[in-house]
Subunit: 210 residues, 2 copies
């Protein structure tokens, strides 16, 4: 909801900026505009000066609302993960299927803000303990029957594993290694990866039932 109003506000005020009508600067407006720039032109395409220009404002005005560029990047990453609505764990479905769904949700989010994700995975603090993704993952692993001590450890491993796949997929490494940049083949590879993880978990002591 906060995000939603922020977006419509942005649209209005960016229009104002276009007609040289100085907008009310707001951290939220700054962050959402910056995120739009990163989505469009990549992380390299974002600079304080270009952002100010897009907002129709003096570059230095930004520093009254955002302490520095690092804080700006942190802000837009929080805005991006706020877009993530993980499908709440439906405990009627067996855990392997739950795990697959979480994997696909994560991959879908990454594709949504692919330019940002490449940056985030290269820097610490992206995957937070508090996020809905982490909670859903741990819940599913616990439901699979993993001992408590293993839930956190295995959760981390799974998260970093699929992060690596998604990163390689987005930056093109995966396409380079496969003969073709065939999207279907990449999907098949991801499916194979998830299969291996689920099967490996089963072999590790997870209960095969629900």
């Amino acid at each position: 909801m906060v995000t939603r109003s922020g977006r419509t506000q942005q649209a209005r005020q960016v229009r104002q900026a276009a007609r040289k009508d100085p907008p009310h600067l707001t951290p939220e407006l700054i962050h959402s505009t910056a995120l739009a720039m990163v989505d469009a032109d990549g992380i390299e395409g974002l600079s304080m000066r270009k952002l100010a220009a897009a907002l129709g404002v003096n570059p230095m005005s930004l520093y009254h609302h955002v302490p520095n560029k690092a804080a700006l990047l942190l802000g837009i990453s929080q805005l991006a993960v706020a877009d993530l609505r993980i499908t709440p764990a439906d405990d009627d479905t067996p855990w392997p299927e739950q795990l697959r769904q979480i994997g696909h949700s994560f991959r879908a989010l990454a594709h949504q803000h692919s330019n940002l994700i490449v940056y985030l995975l290269g820097h610490p603090g992206f995957i937070q303990r508090e996020g809905p993704l982490w909670g859903a993952l741990c819940h599913t692993l616990w439901r699979a029957g993993l001992p408590d001590a293993e839930v956190g450890r295995i959760g981390n491993v799974l998260l970093t594993f699929v992060s690596g796949f998604v990163l390689a997929e987005i930056n093109g490494s995966l396409g380079d290694l496969l003969d073709s940049a065939d999207a279907a083949e990449i999907d098949r590879s991801f499916e194979a990866g998830v299969d291996i993880l689920v099967a490996g978990l089963g072999a590790r002591g997870a209960s095969p039932a629900n």
Copy 2:
């Protein structure tokens, strides 16, 4: 051997630079000095101007031996992977053990040039088909009895999976998610991850024998 002579040459000539004795510029000297800078200060710590200063030379002189910074980064990444000596596959050891060894070799390499790895994984073209790592990996998967069509696909998946783990480990994400930044716990996590992959491969049709 080429690398070796380059390193000693570097040492001598960097010493010359320190006493303002202009060295003979060489692509090799430039690359190895740049790699040393990245290893020491991170990718942000490398600039054409600082590199020139370290070499005791005018910044513009570099452009007679290296077309631009992108080419420089490509050069130092090739230099880094040249350091990787993957233990040649000993076909007496069973494939799960072979796979574990490859995983540990890759992780060790990443730790050796951790600052560079963070950059490389974020950009395409790092993991090449030609590298010894890829060859060893495919050989092992083939020996495990995977159908030919699956070897490449699964090889990619495994490589991106452990890349993701190593990346999170190096940039500190992994330590943040675990309660402690305990090194032993991270090692245990990696072992758990490799276990899951090996078990998953077994379940997928790999022969349990050698």
